[in-house]
Symmetry: C2
Subunit: 434 residues, 2 copies
């Protein structure tokens, strides 16, 4: 049996995890599973990084060319992250006829079609299980296990940093900024947390999932994305009082069996207590998929981190090795991703749902009546209201939960309400899922 | 591309679901996925069954030979259930060089080695995703997605009937017999529920999972299996008072990285409120897998029923079709299942854990002291006790939760305690998981 030699580029957190786990299990792979697979080369540009790892008999060096130019390497693992250099490396590897495995969600979400086209052209595979949901088998479940299903919806908590921050705010009643700082201190948030807390990371993962679910390309750039930076401890308290928690959700929804239109959006969301996703706390992730045959399926686990992500990368290694060994390297085709067939997304202005609204108003008679009147003019009715007692400041928060409303109607109504002189701050709007 | 013709034997609940879902999606399989797969023949012995199904262009008949003798059929789906006839059909199909897909957990658990050996010998595959957990991708997750992990433990709620009955007993405070009758009436329990409520069905699924996890054979007959028929509404109430719910769990646990010994057992189990499995209610199933790299992973969904199970069968159809199409029909080998390498199981007498004990005692002074003394003689200490007020009957229940204890010590102690004249009923013993 021909040996499947692997070249690993990037030995940071995830790459280091891959080295550790692969070398721990290599006897199992090569004996019990009857494969023939070896971690042949490891490249990391940074001096000293490789010395700390159990690299066993791998050849360690600092130049990606050492892997890209090695004809004995059949599988390249890209774990350097980022866009430009990673893209160059992956395209070079594919064009050299090597199979590629990556955890790079940003790259797949933003440049997927080009990459899959190159894989297609060169009759090799590009695998990316680790790009979504770390150790949870998200990609495989969508592409293989649920293949018999029309997917009705996906609701997912898929960014550990955001979920940790919102969980801590909920548990401890602390403001966003304070919790973020603590999270950065103890390693749950990056030094530059923009991509996480801004919702971009969730968007990248959502773009990949939606593209797989609907057999086309759902471009990252066309998603509606709103992060968690605007969520206050006050909102979390009001939500709890009304029977909800607040989570950053990625939501995908098929409009109907006959329409090609989908919803695909990322935003903070009120979820009723008792909803299965409401109990997903801290750094844990979950993906709730509703299929027409299977009903609701939940995957739950650690969506990031050294070893969980390594677990997903290695599942790809074994899959690709099995494919190569059995002579079916193109077993799972991704041609539909690269056809340029873009799935149309319903604009956020045209979605319908329930909303949490928090107005800051001067506490004068008839203010509520005026707000009700404007909402009513735009076909928006209210299911519950919380108005706390007069506060020490000049204005008081008034929180309303709407019945089903169209978002553009709601935005128009808010625009008019904010023109009233008694409104003192921008209105808080958070979407609700049941 | 050669057409993959399928023959389906058994068009009952699951078989009927397969016909419906396959025919709904066949355009997607043959166009978008680029496969070439057709449901060519459907066989059901019972007259009239096939007339009610959307069989499309399949040839319908009543004799399995019509499929087994058809050289154009490459994939046989066995969905008649039971042992004897199903085994004959599967062995005939494998020996005729046909790939087989089955949902038959009893057959795989009790005769797996013989079946996989026949598949091996004939260089064909035997797929069984639908045998464990219905629509949840349990088998694929274990065999493929978690392949990088040493599995530390599995805890699973994998029988919908038992979970429904225990959920209803908990919610409504009703006794077992009454809830079982209602469950039979509304279709949540079979007319003969023995295999479900006796724990055998959970045991079959556990045997399959354990065999896959530890690359050997964990025979169904060697599992410790205890059903839910002995659980009373009183136990559920006491458990709740102490902060627990009661679920029928299948438990697999690796003793240590160096020992080959595993625990594999099925029994009612106290789970603390807040445990992720404690919120899995009614007919829902869940599998909680703890891997050394991935940490805890949970799969949750409908573990049975027409369409969820059909979803799993069809994921196998597409997998096998891809393998045949790509020329790798033996891609996932199962030879380790058929090597006769049996995984040793720790006897239940030698396990260690915490226990819920309910004694029925005559309410006399010093009774508790005597029980404590006997337990202490066997190295068993108690972490909490509930003794209700004197009841109308002559005896009162006393409930104790132990600290960690060895089961054989506990059984000896109970034997001695039950010899006391003040003990009026058999002691209730329920194991606890954290």
């Amino acid at each position: 049996m021909a040996l499947c030699n692997i070249g690993l580029i990037g030995a940071g957190t995830v790459g280091g995890g891959v080295v550790k786990v692969f070398n721990k299990q290599k006897k199992f792979f090569n004996t019990t599973l009857g494969l023939s697979v070896a971690l042949r080369r490891i490249v990391d540009k940074r001096p000293g990084v490789l010395a700390t790892l159990p690299t066993a008999d791998a050849i360690c060096s600092h130049n990606p060319d050492d892997i890209l130019n090695d004809n004995d390497i059949k599988i390249v693992i890209e774990l350097i992250g980022g866009i430009t250099e990673a893209k160059t490396i992956i395209l070079r590897a594919l064009n050299a006829g090597k199979h590629v495995i990556t955890a790079n969600k940003a790259l797949i979400a933003e440049h997927g079609p080009e990459l899959f086209e190159a894989a297609e052209k060169n009759r090799v595979s590009l695998s990316f299980e680790a790009s979504v949901g770390g150790g949870m088998p998200t990609i495989k479940t969508i592409r293989e296990s649920l293949i018999a299903n029309e997917i009705i919806s996906v609701k997912t908590i898929i960014n550990g940093t955001c979920n940790y921050i919102l969980s801590q705010m909920t548990e401890k009643g602390l403001p966003f900024g304070e919790v973020l700082k603590a999270a950065q201190k103890n390693g749950y948030a990056e030094a530059d947390p923009t991509l996480d807390i801004g919702g971009g990371d969730t968007g990248h993962k959502l773009s990949i999932m939606a593209s797989l679910l609907y057999a086309g390309y759902v471009p990252f750039k066309k998603l509606y994305i709103e992060g968690i930076t605007g969520i206050t401890a006050e909102d979390i308290n009001f939500a709890r009082e009304l029977g909800y928690c607040i989570k950053l959700l990625g939501i995908i929804r098929k409009e109907s069996e006959t329409s090609p239109l989908i919803e695909a959006r990322v935003h903070p969301t009120l979820l009723p207590h008792g909803h299965i996703l409401s109990s997903v706390s801290d750094v844990f992730n979950a993906v709730l998929i509703e299929g027409d045959a299977v009903g609701p399926i939940l995957l739950y686990g650690k969506g990031a981190g050294e070893l969980p992500t390594a677990s997903a990368v290695i599942s790809d290694i074994i899959d690709v090795t099995r494919n190569i060994t059995e002579g079916s390297p193109r077993r799972l085709q991704m041609d539909y991703y690269s056809t340029g067939c873009e799935i149309p997304i319903r604009p956020i202005s045209a979605i319908t749902g329930r909303y949490y609204l928090r107005f800051s108003v001067v506490d004068k008679p008839k203010v509520l009546a005026s707000i009700y009147a404007i909402l009513g003019d735009h076909d928006i009715s209210i299911s519950s209201v919380v108005q706390n007692e007069r506060s020490a400041t000049d204005f008081v928060p008034v929180v309303m939960i709407t019945h089903d409303a169209r978002e553009d109607n709601l935005q128009k109504a808010i625009g008019e309400i904010e023109k009233m002189s008694v409104i003192k701050q921008k209105t808080q709007l958070i979407r609700i899922e049941n």
